[in-house]
């Protein structure tokens, strides 16, 4: 039953026909929470709610952006899920908790949106009344978040310049190999990471590829190890 629900949810988010404004909905279906939102923020992308299932979900995002605190920030900074089964009794985010008081937010959960070293944003989930998420549900939410990360990043870089020139492409392939070894990931993800980095710095992929090959840039999922 839950395996089917997860398959349905991941098929929905992966479907190219799914608008990015609808990416939050499958989380509600999968985890039976009251509402969900997908947002970008952090060092790489502008703070923006990409998808929210209802007004309250959007409001929860907005408050966290404005206040600079809340579960979504913690999720992105630690790159781990944040699970708060009972917000009213929590001491984690006093200002945020105060701000949502009266909005019927019992429990709140946040999952990071990251790809390799790139921090993209977070998925926020809330429930009217206090409740927790089982380990299996957390695992599924993380897996769904990681699909959403790729979709968001592809969407963000889709307007970027394609790599022109066969020699440039060759360098990008070599750099892709280096990055996939650095991050122990797939060629597709490594390519996306290079693309994201180029986009963030407004440079060409070939420039970034040359920096990688010359070992001026090294990627790591632990940001402190990354050289600039």
């Amino acid at each position: 039953m839950t395996a089917d629900a997860f398959r349905d949810a991941s098929e929905t988010v992966s479907d190219p026909a799914t608008d990015i404004a609808d990416l939050a909905r499958p989380f509600v279906g999968l985890l039976r929470v009251s509402g969900a939102s997908v947002s970008t923020f952090g060092p790489f992308l502008d703070a923006r709610t990409i998808s929210a299932t209802d007004e309250r979900a959007g409001r929860i995002d907005e408050l966290q952006f404005d206040l600079g605190e809340g579960p979504c920030w913690d999720a992105l900074t630690t790159r781990r899920p944040v699970i708060e089964p009972d917000l009213a009794s929590s001491t984690a985010w006093p200002v945020f908790a105060e701000a949502v008081r009266g909005q019927r937010v019992g429990a709140i959960f946040a999952f990071p949106l990251v790809l390799g070293p790139l921090e993209l944003g977070a998925v926020d989930l809330y429930s009217d009344s206090p409740r927790s998420l089982e380990v299996e549900q957390q695992r599924q939410a993380l897996a769904l978040s990681s699909i959403v990360s790729r979709i968001l990043l592809r969407h963000v870089v889709s307007g970027a310049q394609p790599v022109t020139g066969t020699f440039s492409r060759r360098l990008v392939h070599q750099a892709t190999g280096m990055v996939l070894a650095q991050l122990e990931t797939t060629p597709e993800d490594a390519y996306l990471v290079i693309q994201g980095r180029a986009f963030a710095e407004n440079r060409s992929m070939r420039d970034v590829a040359e920096d990688i090959i010359e070992r001026r840039i090294r990627f790591s999922t632990r940001p402190e190890e990354e050289t600039q």
Binding site: T166, R170, G177
Partner: protein, 237 residues
């Protein structure tokens, strides 16, 4: 090298190539052997094979040097140089002296000179009505290629064409396109694998390629297969 020794070596090369074509092979291995034969048997310092992709651009698929500087020159040649002309006009194009012949392709001639390349020969890879790419030969000395080398190079180019197109029996135009695409995408995986080894073993790209190649040889595995395993994380060198 004396004529006799060279004749013997050429004979051996073609015998080996014929065996390969009969026995079944990996197209990347075949093309790599071909450029190496050009280097060993002809009076040239570097050689490369370029194939046309779906956009009609020529891409380097095999080269005697994996140094990015050398590949870049061949690629410049592919954009505007003797290669492009050989490809489009289906003729052998020679540049006997890059220091004299500076006007035809200024960008190409300039970087060729800066890398010490004095003469270049581009031979089209043709099968009946179709041209699929070029064989590129470069020398550090000026001058024409001797007629003997021209003939041997043309024969090696023909083997390359047959090898690329016959890896699976190729008859019609779309099959030719598929086969070219197959060779070009095998090259993509090899470039990625070079990156993997460059990163994990802290090597330059050409040293990484040498390591991949010697692993393939000593384990009698196709180059493309070793490359795929490296990229898939199933193998570490």
């Amino acid at each position: 090298m004396t004529e006799t020794t060279r004749d013997e070596k050429l004979f051996d090369a073609f015998a080996t190539l014929a065996d390969t074509l009969v026995a079944g092979y990996d197209v990347m291995d075949l093309l790599q052997s071909l450029v190496d034969y050009c280097h060993d048997l002809l009076d040239v310092d570097s050689a490369g094979i370029l194939l046309a992709n779906l956009r009609g651009e020529l891409e380097v698929v095999a080269s005697t040097s994996e140094a990015n500087t050398v590949v870049e020159i061949m690629q410049l040649d592919a954009d505007a140089g003797p290669c492009t002309q050989a490809f489009h006009e289906r003729i052998v194009v020679s540049v006997p002296d890059t220091e004299v012949d500076t006007d035809r392709w200024p960008a190409f001639s300039k970087s060729a000179r800066s890398q010490g390349i004095r003469s270049v020969y581009a031979i089209p890879l043709r099968l009946r009505e179709t041209t699929i790419g070029t064989l590129n030969l470069m020398r550090d000395q000026p001058g024409e290629l001797n007629p003997y080398d021209v003939r041997a190079a043309q024969a090696l180019a023909d083997v390359a064409t047959i090898g690329i197109l016959q890896e699976r029996a190729v008859s019609d135009a779309s099959a030719i396109r598929d086969q070219l695409q197959h060779a070009l995408s095998s090259r993509v995986v090899i470039e990625q694998a070079k990156g993997v080894v460059a990163e994990t073993a802290k090597l330059s790209m050409d040293a990484a390629f040498d390591r991949i190649r010697s692993h393939a040889r000593s384990h009698q595995m196709p180059l493309s297969q070793v490359a795929r395993q490296l990229v898939g994380g199933e193998l570490r060198l």
